[in-house]
Symmetry: C2
Subunit: 682 residues, 2 copies
């Protein structure tokens, strides 16, 4: 489908006046919805528009990394994904045996054990979008405006540095229903038994959505001007926003063509409900991705230019051709289907955007700045994680709690990830598309040992938990900031930043997300994964590993820390907006490791469990690393690598990334960390 905005604009009616918003989001796919979700939680005035008239139905990316589930959980809806999705536990590698017949050669756990409390799952993108929409509705009045097309962009660069300015002006056109319905490719394209090419797998809770669409259509034909402080282009690989900025995607096109079938398979292949990588001796490769609702997705290699065959035209491919290709690869096992949910064929390169932002006012995210093959299940994840990284930063600046300096870290952090992703995908695609080597002398073939190695290593990358952000004004770690990022300037000179004491928490890495282990609430003995306390609500967390507080000396250190944090000149008092609760910007969470039953909540400093006139003491901030009644022992101190005697303190960013680590006495270092980018209240 061509870009809809390439049509000549029709002579429509211009809506009078203009409206001002803090943030304008172009595109309501997963990346756009993630951005909007942050804005909803942080109370930012936001509009989000999408040129499509309806949500996604069938097909589309659907692998979810364990890190993505952690993020969903921080917004409160990972449980819905966990319940509806198919869980992938094991990867089976199938390779030709000496007789050239495919055989199961290896089993690998799909998610590396112990890296996350979640495992990789598969669920249709439409359901993910539904969960975002429900969340938006619950926490804000932000509604996706569908069938709305951006037509022109004006940007006043001179106003970039004025935090209160609206340097962005976008003309929006409200499409008619006909304009907003994308052309659907020919559903009867030779499909053997295909009966659901664009069948919806959405459930009944979409009714409201459809009603909204209808209501929106009341504006059909209208044009309006929107002024915005910030804008985020999440408008896909053919990004209109990117084109307006004149930015390029850099990289290469590939010649590999892959077919995709979403079917309910009828087969005697024993591992059809496992994730499989099947390399046949000379009939190409198939990847099996078991999905929800009995579906299985098959990625099927159609041809490569390498093997000397004539180049295949992607547009001539039919589901029957794809199926036959799969049947050849998977022989002697039989494969057929009665129900096909969706199919496609694609040919894709690995490309990265040259720039991720314009003056830290207009940002690009998701497919607008990186494209790659879908087989590693990374696309939707990395795209959502782009705006998960960006959203809270914009919100903090708009809300006046942080200076604009933090916005530079979006490109340094996320463009680096995109570069790593593309390198990973390039290697992985090549190994997966190649013909297996017959023996060690077969240099044109792909070594299956090398493939397995890549798969195992790729698994960690693909989990999303290996992300390690470089030094910057908001990541207090050692090393060269530009080298650790994408090369762009992030406003700190090497060796001049605040430094962390990484050795105090050997398994909590500055720059990486806070791992999760079980702790118990001191007040009610309930076990929690600690990450469940790290909600995405825009707050910074001070985590106090209070150590063994049954030791009077240690409790004195804790008391002194409480005094310092509670003092009139503390950064908490300086930066927390006047009239707001003491924990509205900095949320102090304590984990001690004395015996729960020999410790009382009220012995901890007040600021660790603040008092509220209406609600009394706060019972949900002090935790203990102790045995639970029903869920075993989390062993959190050991797992985090924190000493039980001395403990330590940490700062976590609003997105759960570890920003700083220090001793209980290092309040002044913590203060310097925050003072570098926070805005003191009048």
């Amino acid at each position: 489908m061509g870009d809809i905005n390439e049509r000549p604009p029709e002579p429509n009616i211009m809506a009078p006046g203009h409206s001002d918003v803090d943030v304008l989001i172009i595109g309501a796919g997963p990346a756009g919805l993630m951005a909007a979700t942050w804005m909803a939680r942080c109370g930012i005035k936001t509009r989000i528009v999408d040129k499509r008239g309806t949500k996604i139905f069938s097909g589309q990316a659907d692998g979810l990394q364990c890190r993505t589930l952690e993020i969903f959980d921080s917004f409160g809806f990972a449980d819905r994904v966990w319940k509806e999705s198919n869980h992938m536990l094991e990867i089976c590698l199938w390779n030709p045996d000496t007789a050239g017949r495919i055989k199961r050669s290896d089993r690998i756990p799909d998610t590396i054990p112990n890296i996350s409390r979640f495992q990789q799952v598969v669920l249709h993108q439409g359901r993910i979008e539904r969960f975002f929409l429900d969340s938006l509705k619950k926490y804000s009045d932000i509604e996706v405006e569908r069938g709305v097309l951006p037509e022109s962009l004006k940007f006043d660069e001179s106003k970039s540095d004025d935090p209160d300015a609206y340097p962005i002006e976008v003309a929006l056109r409200h499409l008619t229903h006909k304009e907003a319905s994308p052309e659907q490719s020919n559903a009867t394209n030779g499909a053997a038994g295909s009966d659901g090419l664009f069948r919806s797998n959405m459930s009944a809770d979409d009714t409201q959505e459809l009603l909204n669409t209808a209501a929106t259509n009341g504006k059909a034909g209208l044009r309006e001007i929107v002024r915005a402080k910030y804008m985020i282009g999440c408008d896909g690989a053919h990004s209109w926003t990117r084109k307006q900025l004149g930015y390029k995607l850099e990289g290469e096109q590939t010649d590999y063509i892959w077919g995709v079938l979403d079917i309910i398979p009828i087969t005697d292949f024993p591992d059809i409900r496992m994730r499989c990588a099947i390399h046949s001796a000379s009939c190409g490769s198939v990847m099996v991705i078991p999905r929800e609702n009995k579906l299985v997705r098959l990625y099927i290699q159609m041809t490569t230019t390498e093997n000397g065959g004539g180049k295949l035209d992607r547009r001539t491919i039919t589901p029957q051709m794809i199926l036959e290709s799969a049947q050849r690869t998977m022989a002697p096992y039989k494969l057929t289907y009665k129900y096909c949910d969706w199919w496609t064929a694609y040919q894709i390169g690995q490309r990265v955007g040259s720039d991720f932002s314009k003056n830290e006012r207009i940002f690009l995210a998701g497919d607008a700045v990186h494209t790659h093959s879908p087989k590693a299940g990374q696309g939707m994840n990395v795209s959502m994680q782009d705006t998960f990284n960006l959203g809270w930063k914009i919100a903090a600046v708009v809300n006046g709690t942080a200076s604009r300096s933090i916005l530079k870290t979006y490109q340094s952090e996320r463009r680096r990830i995109a570069q790593d992703l593309i390198a990973f995908d390039h290697k992985f695609s090549r190994l997966f598309s190649g013909r297996p080597a017959k023996d060690v002398m077969d240099e044109a073939g792909i070594s299956m040992e090398e493939f397995k190695d890549a798969f195992v290593k790729g698994n960690l990358f693909a989990s999303g938990v290996a992300v390690d952000y470089g030094a910057s004004v908001i990541v207090a770690k050692e090393g060269d900031a530009q080298e650790q990022g994408d090369g762009s300037d992030v406003g700190i000179e090497t060796g001049k930043g605040v430094v962390s004491k990484q050795a105090l928490a050997t398994n909590v890495k500055v720059g990486m997300r806070m791992p999760s282990f079980q702790v118990l609430n001191q007040a009610d003995a309930r076990p929690w994964q600690f990450q469940q306390m790290l909600k995405s609500d825009g707050r910074w967390r001070i985590v106090v590993f209070a150590g063994d507080v049954s030791d009077a000396k240690q409790m004195e250190r804790v008391a002194n820390l409480g005094k310092a944090l509670d003092g009139p000149g503390s950064f908490i008092r300086r930066f927390t907006p006047a009239g707001k609760k003491i924990d509205s910007l900095f949320d102090i969470l304590t984990i001690h490791c004395a015996k729960r039953t020999e410790t009382e909540l009220h012995n901890f400093p007040d600021i660790f469990h603040p008092f509220d006139e209406r609600e009394g003491w706060d019972y949900w901030k002090v935790f203990v690393d102790d045995e639970s009644y029903h869920e075993g022992f989390g062993n959190a101190y050991k797992q985090y690598g924190v000493g039980k005697k001395e403990g330590c303190t940490m700062v976590l960013r609003p997105d759960q990334y570890v920003a700083w680590i220090g001793d209980m006495e290092d309040v002044s270092s913590m203060d310097r960390y925050f003072s570098a980018f926070m805005v003191a209240k009048a």
Copy 2:
């Protein structure tokens, strides 16, 4: 509030004709909704009416046993309860020390470890009703009709035994809005800071509910006649249905008066987020039940006739009086509040209905047949479990798969439970309301040792998992059926029923619910709690503990079992309705204990993973007791007490209760079990 039906009926319009339903449910509280939920899952034509115009808002019973959560999970919504509820982990006992000052004397786990995969939680009844309503909507077109009052009942006893007859005729009146709104007791009754006596704690998803109420009101004033095959009276302690039948509640009234406050407490009492039983030396008792949304419920003893004080009139009690009573008990700790969600005072006896059914056509359930104190958190649970027991039985008879003989087991099973509950509550209330003994010589006082003992024992009873149904046509166990039930006849002579081999599964007790342990799906390696496979969909389960199938001899036994079950004369073929799938009435679930990676699904008999023309093989019926990648090892064979070499087979009722246990060769015994009550298809 008096019974609304005691008002003289107004001269309203009679709706023309009458409508026939299979099941008419009177009352849409938890018991009625549970009954309706079964009907929804089993496709039974049902109406459910309630005289109240709206759902419950604040207050009301809200403790949920772990067994109740298991049941909710079988319907698919335990996760919503688990997420929103407050989890109770520990019970703290507070008693006077030698100086008469209250002190924490003991800690007990609230739910006994390892009896269930859930723990006891607390959530407002209105939310529970919401989850039922959402579930009804998802699976059926059954809608609660509110503001609908039954006015007369005609029952033609002579038609009782005819399965196709409609012996019940009920006149319903659709109330006007004014009639349907219950009088709310005076909210400003001296409430110190009470600002929410009838505040809703329902979330926005009630909108549709309110719209429905409005729509229903279109019928306001209409009368209609409904004919029904079966009727279930879930209409509470003042049950209209019970009165029509002339049945009595038998038991005694008590003189204990208790006040209840639902508040956000402001207190320095350290265990305010624990469940506490506080006995003061001479100022009465308080029970603390921590709830969701920062609320705490306090049950506060107001007076007893025992202590010689003047008898208190329940109607004169104010929240301020209740609070002051609590303050006296909990001194020297301070207690006050700014926010009160709800309060009440009650005085209640322990009573059980004389009969639970009229000719097994009209049934009574819930508060209509048992009343007792709310402090043990049993009321809502036992009520829902009544109709959880009854619902599938009526559905099976209406659907023509079972004979009416199974309906007698409702009274024998549930009236016995009600009797046990009343005995438990009687003892518990007495111990809780009494004054603590000063020393062993103080015979008028309650021994705190005895109290703790009762608490610990009561805990198992209160979990709901100790329920053990007696021998009957649907429970193949030894012993005297009448002795094991409530004394009523359940249609089998002692020693004449089918017998189980209990020794084959020492921890799976015939008559009790199937316990749950982790197993892995053979086809995709995903870990599941086995109970998650036991959905409440009306199907019977044949559980095959296939043993170590890597042993060829054992696999031969399994193959023979498959052949017997699949044979043309097998009970599965005889009783499964013609034209229905082979697993539509009997769902065969297999658990083997060979190594997963050395076993292939396709080696098991076809009927263990049946083939479907559209969906291929079934990958969700064969499980293995093996180590998982991320969730440890369930050790299911050991936990169930089943031998790994020999295995065994079991029959589970549609409500998860164990019905029969035998060897793999005992298919004829299994056949006799089913033949005693199942209806062969023409």
